[in-house]
Point group: D3
Chain length 243, copies 6
């Protein structure tokens, strides 16, 4: 694995936020990474975008003698610690082993995360008070609304360890990008090149979509195997940038 | 099991209708009941609340020689009988063994239920004409829209017997409460204390949410382990009630 | 199997488009066909209707040495060929083996399909850029939004062969009808009689719904086992047609 | 449904015990019954046959305040009552909603059932002490070994009510037949004709298998569409019965 | 894809039959193929090996008006045609969409396949009369015993088309190799090199296993990163071949 | 949680090895622990018992750029390190997120574990060369045989951290006990009392089983609610110990 030599800047995140998860998964597939889409995590509402480095919380199965309601009185309880320690701009990613029968967080914690400047929530478990969370400006993706407290099935264990979420490996610092389709996990060392090539791909697809909407056929245009397609794209791009 | 010595009054149901299912599942978890949330039952539309005693309908798998289209000509067919016999204010809860491949009811029966004053529908199977049901004032929770008639997979058998629904035991008379997260089943003998303590919990959480929205941290506040939290809450509550 | 002796006309499709999938599945159940509803395919948005003959695309599992990103450069790649060859008015039905972990199409192809006059998309896999597809006038039903490219899991193989989709046999030319509940596959040779009897059933159910909304009970009315129900329906129908 | 006018005699059960479940499911399919095979119930050991009328036990989900370890002190607890009330020769069929995470019975109860002359156990849940049960002469079919007590997930409720088991409707008195493939549920009113025609089918298939083992092709033989096949079968049968 | 320039000889198949599926999946993984193991297909009995080219049969979902019991009277019915047309030495691979609720074949057809010299059966569906098939010399892998006739869920459609089986792409002529772990599908063009390198890997692993059984540690030995391991292996191999 | 003040001695483990998992899960249920049975882990062969403290290995999902075949050349690779570091007498427990599509270990590593004196293997994933592992004296429980290398789906990450396995929380040092039904995880601080009371329970159940085999009914005997049962048991026990 190449060590990323470029920092994760606000500009990079802003660029990634504009690129769709379908484009990003294609860029990663071109680099040999086929399993980067958090399976089963759906947005609580449509029309939102998110990009930020992963800050992870790992749950293991609960055990009745360890996970009573009083555990939250511990100021160091990992779920509560996660909410207070996650840096502004980061994304809270939770490993719930895909279990949607209980919640992994609710609207009070989500509100606190928003106040602290967190970029979003991603979980392969449930969220409670899901309608309340959906009313926040901070976006959230989950496997579904689920009212029961996490203590019934989950024991919060680790902060910022590598986890699995929705069948995908998530390492702390990986860049999580979310849109209406769901969430993609971009390994940190690939974020810059994926952002660069993803923006290029989206520009070309804007061109394609405009052509198709105007009646063009797919063959030779998408992908641009016809010799003239590239030239027409460059002309279109020049014209657009001149506006 | 303590025999409930307090009746299920309209006032109790009105109180429960204001309490979220996340609060109610926490109250029940505090009393040792961890499996009370109907798994997989989602509201057909958002923004609705429901509370009422369960009236149950049990389906077993259909058998081709018993479940032809003509069975509905029987005026005592249990599905149709359920619709006419369920008391006003009750909730129709159906055990479909979690099978969403067919419907458990449609918009005509749902309309009849609304006319009869029924509080809502809960099923771990499908609903057909789901958009039509969603237009009613009476709310419904199900495992998903599904067009095929129930006869293809289900044989309506029992009225008002204990059932399983979404993995939860539902006894006739248990109090079903629903919101955007889903539906909780409150054993009848616990309804009063859960309503009382749930209202108290929600009041405290309103305080917490306001504090958090204004920038307060979670630790010491939620749960209120810091000595001053309780005092500040009581002051906040006094001020609010004085308004 | 009776050979259909009546052509699939625009009038027939217009008639089917007005009939709900719940009515159509009941009509097919009366004819002995119980497995005609595409399980798990949900509309990307509500309020749409679709009717058209099936044009099928079969995917088998992908293999890394056959399904790299360059396969789309082949002008005869079956997915792209499907998009250009499907006739106007037809419905593109894709067999994804129920695998929602990747997409089966995205918004560029969907836009092309709309431009070409295609009636809709039905897949038991995912769709990428699902929000973009939902903004089109052409409706689509799928197992959920999913960003990754189809190449990761799917190899496009056959055009217009019989397939399975959502557990249902779909033969090219079968009539696919979709609404908010989902999609039903009507064998072509039954389309005319199902349209005729389905329209009749819906007319009667309009009557029933009106009666029920006005306070009538179900027994004797639905189904119309009370002797007077039929007469009252005919009177109602006459009055309505006279308006 | 025709009322069975012939009693379920030991001779009938002995005849059914010799017929394979694959033959019996085919006979029932010929009569329009496609869903009669208990899905997921596997024999604890191979080489056993069973036939007997169903005596059912229904479990619903457990609830912590009702299903503590002390419930078995109640002499009328339905699980224990089932074991003492089931008639000799009957089959105990349990509805566990397909949940194999806990047991539905163990070796002490199974031993008691054997002593009482019960024909066998069928459950779509687990069995504990499964190796001990497998050592009994009485056969058992289940979804898998599972050590935890049934109280953790199951509340025993009903004796001898219609149930679902492995996705199949089982009415008390239906004839359960088991072999190495699994268990079929024969509606009581069809038991005689299915036994008669199943024996005939098996005799023919013995002939076919002998022919095939000796090199005959399938076409024309199985099914016997070649004119000479029937004649050759009758000759074979005559010869065999003459031995 | 490279065109295989070496024929699939009996010698190649004999070599592959000696190599375990775990070795073969590793060899294919080294060549970039990660999805080659037929998920969910288990051997009917232990201790068997199989290698042969795939001859495929594709099922789609059944439809009641097309798949009655009489379809087998058609001498060209694809399931029966498959049994008579598959070449000696080939493996019958069936695409059942992973549906184990019914059978995909039974003991009569399996016996016919054995008589015809077929190398084995692989299905991601069920097999009926599974104990009878297990008694044959010809091995079979399936998702489980299942008594009901295939007609209930399956419509036999295609012979020798590319299919999916257990989530894996199987092209006619691919080499299927089976052992106690299950079945691997080797693309035909890789069969020779995989056989060569797999034999080499197994020889080395025999050496490793002997060393480990005699007390050697794993590190440096497996994989052979310690400089002396390779030399010791070559000496061991020389000694063994000298015996 | 009470700190265990008694060491885990060979005598304790020997005692636990004699107690069935069904008895142990009941003892833990009496103490409020309902979720201690590793769901889905089956023994590779019957007739084995195991008891030992858990040594854990955690896998997260693999990522193509991190989990190539060369990772095993690293002498500190966690899977290989686990095999060399686990103490004699311990049980290797692996968290595979329930994914059986690939192996979590094979026969070479299993042989090394046996040589090192390890008590057994428990995984909620697959095992490759499963027949070879089954021939070892050291027992193993898994979700099924599976040939593909773990690298395809798993990235070995942590040694001896708390994990989930088969839906159960496993903390390093918890006592894993296995038999033909499966594996139970006993929290270390409860091992002594569970061993003591479990042995007592098994002794009583031996008595009950003998009574039942001799014709006694269940009611009053199991549980021993009849006044005389306890006395008869004590007499039986005295007589047996006098032998």
């Amino acid at each position: 694995m190449t060590i990323p030599d470029l920092p994760i800047t606000p500009g990079l995140l802003a660029a990634l936020r504009k690129i769709s998860t379908s484009t990003l998964t294609t860029q990663l597939f071109k680099r040999g990474l086929a399993n980067v889409f958090i399976q089963g995590a759906r947005p609580l509402k449509t029309g939102q975008r998110m990009a930020g480095p992963a800050f992870t919380l790992r749950y293991i199965p609960a055990r009745e003698d360890l996970d009573g309601i009083d555990v939250f009185r511990d100021p160091n309880h990992p779920q509560r610690a996660a909410v207070e320690q996650i840096p502004a701009g980061a994304v809270l990613v939770m490993d719930c082993r895909g279990d949607v029968s209980v919640a992994s967080a609710g609207s009070i914690l989500a509100t606190r995360l928003q106040v602290r400047g967190v970029a979003g929530i991603v979980t392969d478990g449930g969220l409670r008070d899901a309608a309340g969370i959906a009313r926040l400006a901070m976006p959230a993706w989950c496997a579904g609304p689920s009212a029961p407290t996490n203590l019934i099935r989950h024991h919060a264990l680790d902060l910022n360890a590598p986890i699995g979420c929705g069948g995908v490996a998530v390492y702390p610092g990986d860049i999580m990008v979310g849109d209406d389709d769901g969430v993609v996990c971009i390994p940190a060392h690939l974020a810059h090149e994926v952002a660069r090539d993803g923006a290029e791909q989206e520009c070309f697809e804007d061109f394609v979509l405009e052509q198709v909407a105007n009646g063009a056929g797919i063959i030779g245009l998408y992908p641009p195997t016809a010799p003239e397609t590239r030239a027409r794209f460059e002309a279109w791009r020049l014209a657009r940038s001149a506006q």
